[in-house]
C-alpha cells in the first residue's frame, strides 16, 4: 500500500469530502489553524527573541519560558489538530505539493532543534538566564528556530499556489 494510495483513499472518504465541500466548517478549521499559528509560533518567536538576547532582556529567561510555554503548547495542540483535519480534507493535493513536503521536513527540523536545545543548553539555563547576552549555543538555537519557523510559514502559505 503506497503513500499515494493512502492519500487517495483519504480523499475519497465521506468525511474528507464533507469537510472539503462544506460552506462553514472548512473556513472554521482554516481560521482556527491560523489563530493557532499566531498563538503557538507567535509566542515561540517571543521566546526565541529572548533566547537570542533581543527581546525582554531584563527578565530571566526561565521566567519568560515558564510564562509562555503553556499557551504555546495549547497553540501547538490546536495547530496539530486543525492541521490534521486540513490534511484529511485535501490529502491528494498535499501529496502532490512539494511545498507541503518541504513544510513537513522543516517541521521535523524544528523538532530536532528543540530537542537538541532542551537536552543541552536548556539544562544549564540557571547559569545564563540573567545575562543580557545569552551564550552562543542558546543564540544559535534561537536563530535556527526563527529561520525554520519562517520557512514553515512560507511553505504553508505557498501550498495554495501552483507553479
Amino acid at each position: 500500500m503506497s503513500l499515494l494510495s493512502i492519500c487517495q483513499w483519504i480523499q475519497n472518504t465521506d468525511s474528507s469530502t464533507a469537510l472539503r465541500e462544506s460552506t462553514y466548517l472548512f473556513p472554521i478549521v482554516e481560521t482556527t489553524h491560523v489563530l493557532g499559528l499566531s498563538l503557538s509560533v507567535g509566542l515561540l518567536v517571543v521566546s526565541d527573541l529572548r533566547l537570542i538576547g533581543v527581546g525582554m532582556r531584563r527578565r530571566p529567561a526561565s521566567e519568560v519560558f515558564r510564562q509562555l510555554t503553556p499557551w504555546m503548547l495549547a497553540g501547538f495542540a490546536i495547530m496539530f489538530a486543525t492541521g490534521l483535519l486540513l490534511f484529511w480534507s485535501q490529502a491528494l493535493k498535499a501529496y502532490h505539493s512539494v511545498f507541503f513536503r518541504a513544510k513537513l521536513c522543516l517541521l521535523l527540523l524544528a523538532g530536532v532543534n528543540a530537542m537538541v536545545y532542551h537536552l543541552t543548553i536548556y539544562r544549564r539555563m540557571n547559569k545564563w538566564e540573567n545575562k543580557l547576552v545569552p551564550p552562543a549555543q542558546a543564540r544559535l538555537a534561537g536563530w535556527l528556530s526563527l529561520i525554520i519557523w519562517a520557512g514553515i510559514i512560507a511553505a504553508g502559505r505557498t501550498m495554495a499556489y501552483t507553479f
Binding site: 491560523v34 499559528l37 498563538l39 527578565r59 510564562q67 509562555l68
Partner: protein, 165 residues
C-alpha cells in the same frame, strides 16, 4: 507571506500584553516594562501588515470589492486600530501617578518606558475593570479580524467576480 509574518508577531505581542492586563501572564512584571520590550515589535509588525495588506488589496481590488467578508474585515480592522491607538492608551494610563512621556519610541509617539512606577502596575491588573476591558478587547478585536480572513478566503472561491459597474 510577509503579511503572515506580521500577523504572527502582531497577534503574539497583543496576546502577551492583553493577558498581562488581565493579570494572567507575567503578573510580577510591570506593564510599562513589558510594553517597552514588546511594543516596538507590535507596532512594526502592524506597519508591515498594513503595507503588505495594501499591496495585496491593490493586486485584487475588484475581487475584494465584491467580497462582503472583506468589507467586514475592513470594518473590524478599523475598529481594532481605533481601539489600539485611541482607547488602549486611555485604559492603561493611570492619571494620578504615571506621567506619560511623549518622546518617540522607534518612530511612534508613545513611550512606554516610564519606570516611575504606577500604583496599579504592582497589582495583577485583573482587579481593575478598565484594564480587564483593555485586555479582553485587545485580543477579541484581533481574533475577530483574523476569523474573517478565512471566511473571506473561502467566499472568494465561491463568489463570482463582480463586474465593474
Amino acid at each position: 507571506m510577509f503579511h503572515l509574518f506580521g500577523l504572527t508577531i502582531l497577534l503574539a505581542t497583543t496576546i502577551v500584553l492583553s493577558l498581562r492586563l488581565l493579570g494572567v501572564m507575567f503578573p510580577q512584571q510591570t506593564f510599562p516594562e513589558l510594553a517597552s520590550s514588546l511594543m516596538p515589535w507590535n507596532l512594526w509588525s502592524l506597519a508591515v501588515m498594513l503595507c503588505t495588506g495594501f499591496l495585496l488589496f491593490t493586486s485584487e481590488a475588484v475581487k475584494c470589492y465584491g467580497n462582503y467578508s472583506f468589507r467586514a474585515k475592513m470594518v473590524l480592522l478599523f475598529t481594532a486600530l481605533l481601539f489600539r491607538f485611541a482607547l488602549y492608551p486611555q485604559l492603561t494610563r493611570n492619571w494620578e501617578s504615571w506621567r506619560r512621556d511623549y518622546r518617540c519610541c522607534c518612530g511612534f509617539p508613545w513611550d512606554w518606558r516610564d519606570e516611575r512606577s504606577v500604583s496599579w502596575d504592582n497589582e495583577s491588573g485583573s482587579r481593575v475593570p478598565g484594564l480587564r476591558a483593555a485586555g479582553i478587547s485587545g485580543i477579541s478585536f484581533h481574533f475577530f479580524h483574523l476569523a474573517d480572513v478565512a471566511f473571506a478566503m473561502r467566499r472568494q472561491k465561491q463568489q463570482p467576480l463582480v463586474a465593474i459597474q
